[in-house]
Structures are given as C-alpha cells and as structure tokens.
Symmetry: C2
Subunit: 204 residues, 2 copies
C-alpha cells in the first residue's frame, strides 16, 4: 500500500498519473464520496458516488480503511477492492490527506509505505498557486488553510520527496515502491527458500 499525500501545488496528481502509467502492478484506489459528480468524471474511475446514507452505512459496517469530511463532503477508501488487489500480489496507490494516512497506519501499519510530496521552492509554489485561475477568493483561502495544515504533518511520513523536477520526483517514488517490495519483512515464503539454499551449502 503506497500512500501519497501533499499540500496543494506540489504536483501530486501528475506524479500519481505517471506512476500508474509506468507501474503495471500498481493500481489506484478509487474512493467513495458523497460529493456530486462533476462534469467529465466517471463513476468507478474518479470516484464511486454514493449517497450520505450509503456512506454512513459503510462507515458503520467498518468497510472503509479511512474516511474524512472535507468542505462538507465525505470521502472514504473502501477496504474490499484493496484486499483483493493485495491478495493477488499487486500493490495499491492511495491519494489521501494526512488524516487518511493516519487512519490507514492505525489499521495496517506494516503494509504501508507513505510518501509526502513537497513543492520545489517558495517561489515556484507561489507561482503555481497564483496561476490556477478560476476559483473564488473564499475557495482559494480554504484550500490554502488546508494546505498549511497538510504540510505541517510531513514528518509523519516514511519518505519525503521534493517535486523540483517531475521525472526526478517520479523516479524517487518508483524507487520507494521497488525498495519497499524487497523489504525483508514483506517477503512471504523466504524462510522456506533460504532453508533449501542452506541444504546446498551443507551438502554441496
């Protein structure tokens, strides 16, 4: 389970998209949300769109790995598809905020590698934030307050990457994924394999 978080303006969406393109065994977790579907969004690709009652029922049945309410809308990560992917020996990518990451760590700590993506510099961040355009000042102010809150939690993550260059940042996230896959505590069946090798050393 690869968890990516970042404050606004760090370029996480681009990194996630490219990562999924290049890593065939990595699959995006699709969240459920109570937010209305926007133009261009596709059910099951961008989100599973559910009613408030459906969402609350999933929370009550403990069917979500994490959930949160942001700006009046609720979002959550359904556990069942994640389990299915992990059981098939493949990995899942999560785009969640610090609260989601915290809840997921509480539930399955050993399966998670978490990465916090930072924008490259104060100058570049200011440039990215001011060229976004169409939102109202109130929406921008809310997003900035959330970003300032988000970034204060960077220290809770296993890895921190600075997105000063998309290709370099992407390579770092891919390296994290590949390294985490060969962590000694993640390799099932290793004891049997080593036992077989040991026999060869004992009777070459």
């Amino acid at each position: 389970m690869l968890v990516l978080s970042s404050p606004s303006g760090a370029g996480k969406t681009t990194i996630s998209r490219k990562l999924l393109e290049q890593e065939a065994d990595l699959h995006m977790s699709v969240s459920v949300t109570t937010r209305p579907m926007r133009k261009g969004e596709v059910e099951g690709r961008d989100y599973y769109f559910v009613s408030r009652a459906q969402f609350d029922a999933m929370v009550d049945a403990d069917e979500l790995l994490e959930h949160a309410t942001v700006f009046e809308n609720s979002y959550g990560t359904p556990a069942a598809p994640v389990e299915a992917t992990l059981n098939a020996g493949e990995d899942v990518l999560f785009d969640v905020d610090w609260q989601g990451a915290q809840q997921m760590r509480t539930r399955r700590r050993s399966d998670i590698a978490s990465v916090f993506i930072l924008p490259p510099s104060t100058e570049e961040l200011a440039r990215r934030l001011t060229t976004r355009g169409t939102d109202t000042p109130e929406v921008v102010a809310k997003r900035m307050a959330k970003a300032a809150d988000e970034i204060s939690h960077y220290g809770e993550y296993d890895y921190v990457v600075v997105n000063d260059d998309v290709d370099r940042c992407l390579a770092e996230v891919r390296a994290i994924l590949h390294a985490e896959r060969v962590r000694a505590d993640r390799l099932p069946g290793l004891a049997d394999f080593v036992g077989g090798l040991t026999e060869v050393y004992r009777a070459p």
Copy 2:
C-alpha cells in the same frame, strides 16, 4: 551507508561492481586487512594491507567501524574515510559479512540500510558452487560452512534481494539506495524548507 552481505555464490561481487559504476555518489569502503597481498591486488583499491600490530592498534584506538577474523586473517572497516565521504553528502558501500553488519548497526543504526543478497535457486546455487574450480576440498568445505552460517542471518537485514537476474537485482539495490536517500528521517534542513513553504500557504 549501504551494507551488502551475502553467502558464497550469490553474485555480490558483480552487483557491487556494477552498482559503483552506475552510482557516481556511492563509494566503496576499502577495508584494512592483515592478509598478505595477492597477485593483482592493489594497495588502497582492494585493501589497505597492514601488519597485525597496526591492525591491533586501530582496534584499540576504536578506529574501525567493524572488524572480524576469518580463517586466521583479520579485516576491518576504517571509520575516518567513511566519515569524510558522509560529511561530503555522498554515500558509502560496504561489503561485509553478518558479523560486520551487526557491529556497524550497533555503532550507527540510523545511517545504515542493509541488504542481503540471495542466490536464485538451489539448482543454480549448486551449479555456481561446483564450477568454481581451483580450491582444495578443505577450502571449499570451510567456505560452505561460512556460507551456511552467513545465510542464517538474512533476517537481520532491512532488505533481501534474490539475484536471479543481475540487471533486475542491480535495479532493486539501486532502488533501495535511492529510496533510503529520501527517507524522512534522513533529510537535513527539511524543517526550515517546510517552514518557508508554509508561509506561502498562509499568505499566498
């Protein structure tokens, strides 16, 4: 500090050589040894060749990160060049056995990523071990006993890679190096950087 260990026949020497070729910021730690120089070996490249008295003096002065005696010869890792490389912001590769890795972990746990390299299969291992050729049966028996001892410690390492394909194994070790470089607890100056970014979010 990237520590590689493996039992005989796993292909560690090839992996180390290729790793150093491809990673400009990674430098091999050169050990000191009391063993006589062999034909083709170069002082300061393969080892620093020292007398028993010189070696013992380094141990007494606590100048070695780890040291061990194998088949009557002593080997050790001098601390000073390692410190110089780390202080220059670059990394050091160590080719040590499980005892060396254990001693190094005791001394500077947070700076170390340790990787254990396994041979690909019992069949391939048997093939590699029988085609080595020139050693006497006694030397082979000693090496096998050491390998069986070595492999029993694989679980003490952070990562385990199986060398079933040199390029794939090399890519995994490189991923480990790159991932470890962006671990949150390894990035100096991050708090100041995040502080600057936070100001931008607070006053965009």
